[in-house]
Amino acid sequence: MEAISLLPLMTLLQLVFDTLLGFALLWLAWRALASPELFQAIVLFIAFGLLMALAWVRLDAPDVALAEAAIGAGLTGALLLATLARLEVKNRAKSELEKKHEVRVITEKSKHQTFFFLLRMLLFMVVATGLVYAVLTLPENTSGLAMPVLENLESSGVSNPVTAVLLNYRGYDTLLELSVLLLALLGVWSFGGIPKPYRSFPGPVLNMLSRLLIPLLIMVAGYLLWVGAHAPGGAFQGGSVLGAAGVLLLLVGWRLGTRFVGLPLRITLVFGVGIFVSAGVVFILLGRQFLEYPPSFAGVLILLIEAAATLSIGITLAALFLGGRPEFRRHK
């Protein structure tokens, strides 16, 4: 009896919570964009990512929530902060140089500025109109592809529909996502070696924290990878936790031994994409389509691909945090 009488109250509370969450997200997004100070903007962006993860939980999408919290808030935040630290070092050097030579930077407000402002507004209007049009023309009351996905779940090799979509039905997308991550790292590496490292004194607390957390993070990455077959989790979530372990290691001053920086590191970085593509190609040779797995061992294959992808994603994210190509001496 009591449970029934409490029901409208609970719905109301949820509605209030969702509304607050929605407005908080909009406000944080606006503040992050409008904030003049970069550090503040990054902190707001991280807060935005965490609230966004909460929003995904409210939308019953725990897989996306995990990825958003780990990559969107955690690792992107760490990458942005690392970039900011380097920018500050660079700016300080630049402003000292300018002081020395008494270079005066003259900023002129020109007609170009108003022109670009109008251009930006136009672009904004076009995008906004497009979005409104897309939302208004959404078909109502369709079940989408949920039913076909659930009906064919048995032949996908896993029981978590999200993993089935990501690794089996839409394997292309995940393969391309992995490639994008690899390309991003190649882009960073093509800028050259690691920028001059800012000195860090980790101190006993950070050292102790890393010792306690890193084994746990590696274990959690393995757990997320394994659990992805039948519950929220998977390669990207596991990989980003592994990447976080890498970032923590880099923060306490740990560096990969020069022995491993050359070929072993590069092989690990392309391992995920490599296994994924070879799995696809092998099935072409066996007379199937690219990435069309036979249902009998799709499960094992998905686990294999995800394990390779987890490792590659983790190492790639940590390498991105390092921000440059690690030096290694070629044997002459």
């Binding site: 101190g203 607390v205 102790m208 924290l209």
Partner: protein
């Protein structure tokens, strides 16, 4: 209402009160050190009470164990991060508030 549900409600409300106190401290205290003090300590207790309250409703011991693990991890990280922020503030030369 069952006893466990009653206890859960009390613990959750107590936890929320500690979170509220920590947030008020964060907003009202004069400098970074006192704010850290208010935030981390109050939130750790608040989360502990909430975890305890939720563990009473857990379906299995495994779920209760996971909740406890979350609390322990937050304790570890919030204590360390509070120390690191305070250390960074000291290195930046921010003097503790005195009055």
């Amino acid at each position: 209402m069952l006893l466990s549900e009653f206890l859960t409600s009390v613990l959750l409300l107590a936890g929320a009160f500690f979170f509220l106190a920590g947030t008020v401290g964060l907003l009202r205290f004069p400098d970074v050190y006192t704010r850290l003090h208010a935030l981390t300590k109050a939130d750790n207790v608040g989360l502990g009470l909430m975890v305890l309250g939720l563990a009473l409703q857990a379906e299995s011991w495994a779920v209760a164990g996971k909740l406890l693990l979350i609390w322990l991890l937050v304790l570890l990280s919030s204590a360390s991060v509070a120390h690191l922020i305070a250390k960074a503030a000291r290195q930046k030369g921010i003097e503790p508030w005195k009055q």
